[in-house]
Each structure stands twice: as C-alpha cells, then as structure tokens.
C-alpha cells in the first residue's frame, strides 16, 4: 500500500513526514541523513542539464552562486523568473524539483508515496496557492490538498499534547512570519484566524547583520567588504552563524576578511536586539491585528506554540513572556511540527479504505475545522451618498474567518434599460476593503447574451462558496432568464509553463 505524506515546503528548509502504520506522523530523513532539506536548487556547469537539490545545492553557492536558486517561495504567485545559463525557471518549477527530491529520498527508504498534502503560509495569495498546486502536479505527485502551515502545526500539537483553549501559533521561519489563533477543544482543532508577513523571516535578519558587517568594514578599511555574489553569500552564511551564536552567547566575535585584510567583527546580543527591534515591532503589530480581529486580550490566550527556526532567538521568547505573561510552549521540535501535522491531515483526507485499522483509530483522535482565510467580494456600482456619485464598490460576499464550508448569495440589479451584459469581478483581500483598488482581482468576466429589451433593475444573483478544502466557487445568474455563469477558480489546466519542467532534470 502507498504511503501518505505531508510536506513542509519551506523558504529555506523543507521536510517530509509520513503516516506510519500505527497512524502517527513520522518525519523522514533525506539521503544526506538530515530531517531538514535545504530549499535550494543548483545547476552546476560541469553537469550541464542536471539539477541538484538540497544541501549540495546550498554548498554550490560558494562555487557558482549564479547557478543557484533559493528562497523561491517568496516569489510564488508572481511572474518572477530566474535565468540560469540561458534557461528560465519559474518559482513553481523550482518548487517542484524540491518536492521531487523529498519524495524520491523518502520513497527509496520507505516505499512509494501515494497521496501528499503540501503546506503553505496562511496568507499566501490565490496565485501563490495555484503555483503550489502547479508545483505538486509538475513533480508528478498525486495532489491531494494544501493546508496552511500554522494549521498543520496546530494539528500536530493537538495530537501530541493535551492542550485546550485558545492557542496562539507563532511561526517564525526562514522567510515568513505567521501568527494563527486556533481553538483546541478536545479532538477538535478550529483555526480562528491567521495573519502573516511573507517578507519577514530569518534571512531578513541575516541581511541586517550582513549590512552591519559591511558598514563596519567600510568604516574601518575604507573599502567594500562584498564585491561579488559569491562573497555576498559567504558573508551571509557568516551572518547567519553569528545570529545563531547569539542564541547561546551574549557576544559573538568573528574574523571577517576582505580586500584590505582581516577585521574582527563583534556583535553583542543587546546591539543585535536593537537592530531587529522594528522587525519585532512588526511582529507585535501583527499580533495586535490578530487579537483585535477576534476581539481577544492577551490573557485570553491559553498557550503559545512556537514553530520555525527563528523562534530560537531569545528576544522572541522574552517578548512573548513580557506581553502574555506566559512561557511559550517548547519541547516539540519546532522545525518539524508543520510537516508532521501535514501528514496527519493527509491521513484525515485519504480514502478511508487505504488506511489500516490502527491508522483510522489514531486519526479519530483529531478533527480539523477551518475558516475562510480572506474576504471575497464582487465589484458593484453603488451610490456614494457623501460624494454624490456612483462608484465601484467591493461588496463583501464571504467574510474572513467564516467557518468552512460557507456560501452566500446576494442579489444585485442591472442598471440600464436594454442592458444585455454584466461585468463581473471577483476580489480577494485580507481586510474588508470597500475600495476595489485596494483588493486583488482574482477573476474577471462577462455574464452576457442576456435577453434584450428589458427595463433596468433585472435581478442578478451572485453566489460565492468556499469548500472545506479551501477552494472557492462562484456563480453569476440572471434570475429571469436563468442564464448563469459558473466561475472556475482552480488552476488553469491548459496553461503549461514554457519553462522546463522538473522532468528535464533527472535527479540521481
């Protein structure tokens, strides 16, 4: 029987867990013997046409940085491409290679993987979600579902601890910061809300330290420390080392050597904390927003769970303690929680016939309830009584945090006599945004060929629904003629990328 797996497709590291015979999630080592695999792909010049993934790819940064692609997760859902030796790569193409490496490494040890669930940050845009689906398909995997990282972590914690009440999941990784509030009620895990920042993570901290090193060197030696990409990467590694060192020590000194010789660079924890203070305020602001949205106070939070490597930074715990008057929960491996939870979710979503009796029994102990992660709206024309004019308005159809599945129908009216077409535009946003300019358009089209010669004021029914798997369905319908237009918001199956697929680069 095929295995059921959960994959944490991270910005800097990825991990894969499988559901073992007794229904517990278990993290799998890669071929290098590590639980975490670097989310890096390299195309070495000595083996033109081949791709390497993981640790070797990261090591290749020191040799040919121009041929290494990393942190693609931040570019998912955008049009960004990376060119290596004349070949263009897309963020989802690179992601698919990482997925393939994880799966292949696991399959060689534990057998064929049948179903996978892949995790995404809670605030991933619709395009980024679609890109993730594309990556899964391009990797040739049997796509099951995607699940949000904090949700996966909550699931894992709920299965491994006896937690209750409102739990805050603080996920601070390599590239992103996410904050989620879930309610754990016996076996039920209900995700209440999530907020996050896709550009706030450990690598940004490394960059801050790197900038400090550059400034210090320039001040001392009068020349630039970093002159090419390879040096940039080398010193970024060093910056990361210093950062990690400051977790245990109050002060770290390192020799940095540039064109004008060596220099001793020292960073104290106190200085470091000052340098990242605005970043920490940003995290606090996100917590403000999250609590405010649910109308909660700090004291309403019963537990704080830490996820992600960057939560090892001492100031993180210190700030939490100060603000919530509680020690955050540790003890579980923060780097692994997400993929473990994803594997459990994959089990919950798998065909029950494929599960062993022990697995079914074990999985009964948890149950996940999710909410709508965005506001979804439809653009209408509405009179702005204050400005005395008609204005486009983003009318909310589904509100953020509505328990899934959910559905809503609203009736609007045509505006002129003889109107035979209605312009339909679907918007998505993280906050309620009446102004369409401030919300993302995820679909646009025409409900046309409506009967001619009708007076204005014909009812048009608009229905938005969101299913439990995070998929949106919309329908626009002219009530009188029954003419309707369903909207398919899943990925465009015909649209193939021009970029090479993972299959062009076989991994050995």
């Amino acid at each position: 029987m095929g295995k059921i797996a959960g994959i944490d497709l991270g910005t800097t590291f990825s991990a894969l867990s499988i559901l073992n015979e007794s229904g517990k999630a278990e993290i799998v080592k890669n071929f290098d013997g590590d639980y975490l695999t670097e989310s890096v792909v390299a195309f070495p010049s000595e083996e033109e046409g081949k791709a390497i993934t993981g640790k070797d790819a990261k090591d290749h940064l020191e040799i040919e940085p121009d041929r290494v692609i990393k942190e693609v997760k931040r570019d998912m859902g955008t049009d960004k491409t990376y060119t290596v030796a004349g070949k263009e790569h897309t963020p989802f193409g690179i992601s698919s290679m990482i997925l393939k490496k994880l799966v292949q490494d696991s399959e060689k040890q534990h057998g064929k993987i049948e179903d996978v669930v892949v995790t995404i940050p809670a605030n991933f845009s619709n395009e980024a979600r679609q890109d993730t689906e594309k990556a899964i398909k391009e990797a040739g995997l049997n796509f099951k579902y995607i699940i949000e990282e904090p949700t996966a972590a909550a699931l894992h914690y709920a299965s491994s601890n006896s937690l209750a009440g409102k739990v805050m999941i603080y996920d601070f990784g390599g590239g992103t910061f996410d904050i989620t509030i879930a309610e754990i009620n016996g076996k039920d895990v209900i995700c209440k809300t999530s907020h996050g920042d896709q550009r706030l993570g450990g690598t940004d901290i490394d960059r801050i330290i790197l900038d400090k090193m550059k400034d210090a060197y320039k001040k001392d030696k009068g020349v630039d420390l970093v002159n090419n990409k390879a040096e940039e990467y080398n010193f970024t590694f060093l910056a990361e080392e210093i950062k990690k060192g400051l977790t245990k020590k109050e002060k770290i000194s390192k020799m940095i050597s540039g064109k004008e010789g060596d220099m001793k660079f020292t960073l104290t924890r106190e200085e470091f904390e000052k340098n990242i203070s605005t970043m920490m305020s940003k995290i606090d602001s996100l917590i403000d927003v999250t609590l405010d949205e649910l109308n909660l106070k700090e004291s309403d939070i019963s537990n704080i769970l830490l996820v992600g490597g960057s939560t090892r930074i001492p100031i993180v715990k210190k700030n939490i303690l100060k603000r919530f008057n509680k020690e955050p929960l540790t003890g579980v491996n923060v780097d692994e929680a997400v993929s473990l939870g994803a594997a459990l979710y994959a089990g919950k979503k798998a065909d029950p016939k494929k599960l062993t009796a022990a697995q079914s029994e074990e999985l009964k102990k948890i149950d996940l309830k999710t909410v709508c992660n965005f506001y979804f709206g439809s653009v209408i024309l509405r009179e702005n009584t204050e400005k005395q004019k008609l204005e486009p308005y983003n009318e909310t159809m589904l509100a953020k945090n509505t328990p899934l599945p959910c559905s809503q129908t609203k009736t609007f009216y045509t505006m002129t006599d003889g109107q035979t077409a209605v312009e339909c535009e679907i918007k998505q946003s993280l906050a309620e945004q009446g102004d369409p300019d401030f919300a993302t358009t995820i679909w646009k089209g025409l409900l046309d060929n409506l009967p001619p010669n009708r007076p204005q004021g014909r009812p048009i029914e608009v229905t938005f629904s969101y299913d439990e798997n995070g998929m949106m369905h919309c329908k626009y319908k002219d009530v009188e003629s029954n003419i309707e237009m369903p909207v398919d918001l899943s990925i465009d199956k015909d649209k193939e990328s021009d970029a090479p697929t993972a299959n062009d680069f076989t991994i050995e």
């Binding site: 602001s285 927003v289 024309l381 002129t416 003889g418 401030f438």
Partner: protein, 426 residues
C-alpha cells in the same frame, strides 16, 4: 434586499453617468404607492369632474432626507378609452422658455431617462386597471422627477411643459430627446400641462458664477499645496495644468477662449501669491465653502492630493496642510483617509528608511504621525488602536498585483511598526 445595488455594466447609449441619485427609484416608488391610488378611488362620480393632468412641486421624505420632487398627477373620472386596459404612462418635460436654445430637460438618473439619451423620461406601468365608472377624487401621483437631478438649459424663470402620452402596455412608444419617434399610432391619449418654474441652479448651457469661483479656488488650493514644501515641482504644476486643460476642453466652443483667459489669469496670480507666501488659504477655504457643491469639494481635494503625490514623495508638510483643509471644508474623514491612502500608494517613496534617518527622534515621531495620519498628542491607547487598524489595512495590500502599491504597502507597514516602537513600546 440592500437597496438598489448595481452591478458594473456595459453602457448602451454611450453616455456616462456623472452625478446620480442611485437609490432614488426604488425609494420614490414606495412613496408614490403609499395607498394613494386606492384610497382616492371613488365611485361617487357626481361632481368628480373630467380627467385632468397637472405637475406640482412637493417635498418628500426619502431615506430621512427631504427631497424636492416634481409629481405628475391625475384626477377625475376615468375616460372611456382608458378603462379596463393595461396602460403605460410615458412622461416627458420640455423647456419652452427659448426653443432656439434647446428644450431638453436632462436627468442622469437611471430609470428617469430615455434608453438612448439622458433626456428625462418616466414610464409608469404598474398602475392597476382603471375601472369604468370610477375615478380619482383627489390628485394621484402617477409620474415623478427628482428635482435635484433635473438639468434645464439655463438658470432662472423657465416655461415648462409636461406631457403624458398614454398607450397600451406592450405597444411601445419610444422617444428621442423627448419627442416620439416610434409608435405614434399607439398613443391613446395625450395630456399636457404648462408650468412656470424658477430654476435655482445653473443650466447645462451656461457656466455658473459659483463654478467660476470654485475653479479659481481649486487652482489656488493646489498651488498652495504644491508650494507647501518650499518649491513648486514641475510635476505638481503638470497635474494642475492637465486639470485646467480639461476645464477648457469642456467649455462650449464659443466660450473656450474666454475660459482659457480666465483660468490662465488665475494660475498666474496663484503661482505669484504661493511663491511669495501671500496666498491666503483661509480665504480659499471660505470661497470653497461658500460656493462649492459636495462633489466639487471632492474634486478640489482629489486634485490637491494628486498634486501632493505628483513629485513622488509623500511630503509631510503637504499632508499636514491637506489634513486640516479637508476638515475645514467638511470632507468625511473616512472618505478623506481613503483618498489620502490612494495617493500614498502612488508615490515612489513614503519616507526615508529608519536606518538612514539622520534627524532627531522627536522629528521622526512627528513625521511618522503625519504620514500614517494620527495626532501625536493622542493617548497611547488611542494610538495603538489606530496603528492596529492601519496595520491591518496596509497588510491586506501586500498581495496586490500592482507592484507599486505593494511596495508602498510594505513601506507603510515598516513605518507603522517603527511608530509602534517609538510611541507604544518606549
């Protein structure tokens, strides 16, 4: 049902709605139908008189607001030709004051105009069948026009003629600019009514004295803002120039020259006064309050905000000025905030980065407060609440496709986090 909400649509006639009274039709219909039809229905035909038509100005409460309406009414014994049939009443209004100038009465409200032109028209089809031997004892409202949205050729005394053409439902009569162009033979009866009327507002053929004053105020306001940071940037000037050109282009052919001259004079004086710091903004504000309509106030403010953002930086002084001005001309704070944010997304950089800031902490705090839009003297709690709201809003924009908006949103988030650090944590 949440009033009349309208979907974005494809326009047919090619004309574009400017000022509209969106919810009017639905709201007005209920007023008209408030029992008056049946309550007045009488079979006591003695002394009821013949079937008559008139128009009358009346004030109605609609959505808790007093609205002046012109009601088209009938009373009297139902004529034999009209009874026991499904009728359609088509109402038109002509302005006969000076037929050479044109007689159209225009109304840009959906439901109150022709399919192919903005000429006023109202069709009543939901009238119950008139029974023979019955009549209306008192005046009954059948047609109506929202007065505040009617546009006559000129201001002052107008000679209006109301017409009601009655035909059978399904045998359509269509009109073009108020005149029947198809289905004349289907008309069963026509009723006319003449009325002398004083139009308080400027007509569509003329530019009002108020508008001339408002245009001047807008020019002065914008140059005042452009000069608030010391220099008038060519890009700021360009925004004003574009707007002025639009005004000239909108003027009728025979008045283009005079319009251009007038606007240019305003520009020259405004620049001179703005540069020498003699421009009295309180006078400009007073003129706006005396002469501008709500829509014109928004026109002024939107242009001034565009001027603020034109040079690519969100200037603290310019924003501070605009915050005050928007309050003084009575702009709704929520609408203002939205317009302000929109313009902030248009600049190239909101403020220098925290790392490269060289000023004092106090100056930085003032600057952050101006850019984010709060008062430094507010309490810590209030500031925190405000920052939370702002953070949620800008954070929702980081998924936008428009790279510029996205970058500004990221920048605003950093500034808000910095403000939180400086105002709340320390």
């Amino acid at each position: 049902m949440e009033g009349i909400l309208l979907l974005i649509l494809i326009f047919f006639g090619g004309w574009i709605i400017r000022a509209v009274f969106g919810g009017a039709k639905a709201a007005v219909k209920t007023v008209a139908g408030q029992g008056s039809l049946s309550e007045n229905l009488q079979n006591e035909i003695v002394g009821m008189g013949e079937f008559q038509f008139r128009a009358i100005k009346q004030t109605k409460q609609i959505d808790n607001q007093s609205k002046d309406m012109l009601f088209m009414q009938f009373k009297g014994l139902f004529p034999a030709g009209l009874t026991n049939r499904n009728l359609s009443f088509l109402f038109t209004i002509y302005d006969n004051t000076n037929p050479q100038e044109g007689s159209w009465v225009i109304c840009h409200v959906p439901g109150f105009n022709e399919v192919t032109s903005p000429t006023f028209q109202y069709i009543a089809e939901d009238i119950p069948k008139l029974q023979s031997g019955y009549g209306w004892k008192s005046w009954v409202n059948i047609g109506m026009a929202p007065l505040e949205f009617l546009k006559f050729p000129k201001k002052g005394n107008r000679k209006l003629e109301f017409q009601c053409a009655i035909s059978l439902q399904g045998s359509e009569v269509t009109t073009q600019h108020g005149y029947v162009n198809r289905g004349k033979e289907n008309i069963i009866a026509v009723y006319n009514y003449k009325m002398d009327f004083v139009n308080q507002n400027s007509g569509y053929l003329e530019i009002s004295e108020e508008r001339i004053k408002v245009e001047k105020s807008i020019i002065y306001l914008c140059f005042y803002i452009a000069a608030a940071d010391g220099e008038i940037d060519p890009k700021e000037g360009k925004i004003i120039k574009n707007w002025v050109e639009e005004q000239r282009d909108e003027a009728p052919q025979n008045r283009k020259e005079e319009t251009k001259k007038r606007l240019n004079e305003n520009i020259l004086n405004a620049v001179k006064q703005a540069k020498s710091k003699d421009l009295s903004i309180s006078q400009v504000i007073k003129d706006i309050n005396d002469n501008a309509t709500k829509a014109e106030k928004y026109e002024a403010l939107e242009l001034a905000l565009a001027v603020m953002s034109a040079d690519g930086v969100a200037d603290q002084k310019e924003l501070d000025e605009l915050d005050i001005i928007s309050k003084k001309i009575g702009i709704d704070p929520k609408e203002y905030k939205n317009l302000r944010d929109k313009n902030i997304t248009k600049v190239d950089v909101v403020a220098e980065k925290e790392e490269t800031n060289t000023g004092t902490i106090e100056d930085r705090k003032k600057k952050l407060a101006s850019l984010i839009g709060f008062n430094t003297s507010s309490s810590k709690d209030e500031i925190k609440k405000y920052l939370t709201k702002e953070f949620a809003k800008w954070n929702a924009m980081i998924n936008l496709k428009d790279q510029k908006k996205k970058d500004r949103a990221e920048e605003m988030l950093k500034l808000i986090a910095e403000a939180r650090k400086l105002f709340i944590d320390q």
